[in-house]
Amino acid sequence: MSATSSLAGPSFSRRTLLAASATGVAVLAAGCTSAPGKSRPPVTDKQAEALAAQVGVQQALVAAYSAAGAADPAVKVAVAELARQAGEQLTALQAAAPTKRSASAAPGSAAPQGDARAWLRGQVAATATSHATACLDQSGPRAALLGSIAAGLRGQDRRLA
């Protein structure tokens, strides 16, 4: 049977298209916020500290969006949705952090000189790299969350290009 004749068949649906990923993803999201009764991998002190550090990294990015917007009103308008998403990522990271200890002061949010958009893009790319690197030494939902945020920021980098 040819592929063309199979197009009309019932073998594939949107559900099927996403089936490879749907199973367990809800569990994954719940795991990021410590779902009760669900066995999740233990968090080492080192992993907890590393995740707290990434909260600080993301706080710096949120500050960078504010700084870029303050430096250039046109940029502020253009990146409003990206800034909102950076805040959403920060909220998710804070919820996933196993302790509420505050991260170290966020560097890199000084007012940009010159091209605010280009400066901001550099901040986004650096933050993405930081989260992607940190993801490698985490596991379970913490790794998934950091990886997802890193990917989201790669998308922002693409948008700012």
Binding site: M1, S6, T16, G31, G147, I149, G152, R158
Partner: protein
């Protein structure tokens, strides 16, 4: 007995699911490319090539583990009719979002650092392609805060 920590078995299962998603994307990009016409086909061709490369890498990885292979289906029903270039771009979004979710799942289930490194790179690549397709499909927002993760509300 398990403490919930990822194991080689959970990782392999997630990789098999990711391979199934890659098969789907490869097939789907054939449809996207056909709908875009010669002038606009290049992004679909590039995306299909990228997913073929990933398919080959993951297949080899699973073969090294003697894991059961994941075969592509002969065809798949489309999630919606593809009647225009915008529809084709929207299908590109669906394909990349599906792949992204699969690679997030691998991150959640991976036991090995090298597997997480593979997954985070492929997840990022999928989201970058998805941004381009969302722009072409005139979807907003064009970026996703948490690609591959389900909405929290």
């Amino acid at each position: 007995m398990s403490d919930g920590a990822p194991t080689t078995a959970t990782e392999t299962a997630a990789l098999r699911a990711a391979l199934a998603a890659e098969h789907t994307a490869i097939w789907g990009y054939g449809v996207v490319g056909a709908a875009l016409g010669a002038a606009g086909r290049a992004p679909a061709v590039a995306a299909e090539a990228a997913h073929r490369d990933v398919r080959d890498r993951v297949s080899a990885l699973l073969a090294d583990r003697s894991a059961a292979p994941v075969r592509e289906q002969a065809a798949y029903a489309l999630p919606f009719p593809i009647l225009s270039a915008v529809d084709a771009a929207a299908l590109g979004v669906v394909l990349e979002d599906g792949v992204a979710a699969a690679w997030v799942r691998v991150l959640d289930q991976a036991a090995l650092r090298a597997t997480r490194e593979l997954a985070v790179g492929l997840l990022s690549a999928a989201e970058v392609r998805a941004v381009s397709w969302r722009i072409a499909a005139r979807k907003t927002p064009v970026t996703s805060a948490l690609p591959g993760l389900p909405p929290t509300k």
